[in-house]
């Protein structure tokens, strides 16, 4: 059990003040791992993604689910003949499984991207890479969430 820091309490209060008249009562339906696998299948054109070649770096514990940093890197030479075509981020416990898709070109030179995402609750985040040779690779990581995001 982690002691609540004064700073966090203040930050939470500030966030509530910023939300103004918005009352956070909605409890939207959550995705499931099955639904997420279905969405992933559609994103990668029905292919099966193998485990490997993708590294997803995220905090193990996210204190604030509104903004959780993540970095995806993929083992690839990123040449005209052999490159990562796309990276998909999915969340199996958010209202919508699909979080973001990044279309890559060989010009980026290094198959790595960083962004920040919302997490409604503790769940697995999936990172999937589609290669120019038609193969697909993936990894999953569990992130524990102290205060859920998604405004729900």
């Amino acid at each position: 059990m982690r002691a609540v820091k004064r700073r966090d309490v203040l930050r939470g209060a500030a966030a509530l003040a910023a939300a103004g008249t918005v009352v956070l009562t909605l409890r939207p339906a959550r995705a499931t791992p099955e639904k997420t696998a279905e969405v992933m299948g559609k994103l990668i054109g029905g292919k099966t993604a193998k485990e490997g070649r993708v590294t997803l770096t995220m905090p193990q514990i996210a204190e604030n689910g509104n903004t959780v940093p993540l970095t995806v890197s993929v083992e690839s030479p990123m040449t005209e003949k052999d490159y990562v075509k796309a990276v998909h981020i999915l969340a199996d416990g958010n209202p919508e499984p699909a979080v973001a898709t990044f279309g890559f070109t060989p010009q980026i030179g290094k198959a790595e991207i960083s962004t920040r995402m919302r997490m409604a609750k503790t769940q697995n985040i999936w990172a999937v890479a589609e290669m120019s040779d038609g193969s697909a690779w993936m990894t999953k990581t569990e992130v524990k969430v102290t205060i859920g995001g998604c405004g729900g």
């Binding site: 956070l24 939207p28 903004t67 209202p95 919508e96 973001a100 070109t105 290094k110 960083s114 962004t115």
Partner: protein
């Protein structure tokens, strides 16, 4: 709704160097999952797409969903072979766009 976007990248690089580009745009990314005090759903309004081009050629595109945090931040890399101009375009659900450009000298 939209405000200025910010882009950070080096102004100079060596030919063939892989540089990092950091982008950020101020935007609430209203998820469509929330209700107001009267219980009415707040309509979704997000940045749904971002593209990056160099000298007119696309190098990266991003499709964003409501699961992306407010003030979308995206950082990535690119290999530069010549001097030129990067252009970044963010697309809002309401059809508006925000453009930002940055020059780099390669030599």
């Amino acid at each position: 709704m939209m405000s200025k976007a910010r882009v950070r990248l080096p102004s100079k690089a060596k030919k063939g160097e892989v540089i990092e580009i950091k982008t950020l745009i101020n935007h609430t990314m209203e998820s469509g999952q929330r209700k107001d005090s009267a219980g009415n759903p707040i309509p979704r309004q997000i940045i749904n797409k971002m593209t990056a081009t160099f000298n007119g050629k696309e190098i990266l595109n991003a499709t964003l969903h409501p699961g992306v945090s407010a003030n979308p931040y995206i950082s990535f890399f690119t290999k530069v072979e010549e001097s030129g101009t990067f252009e970044f375009v963010w697309h809002d659900d309401d059809g508006s766009t925000v453009k930002e450009t940055a020059k780099i000298t390669v030599g």
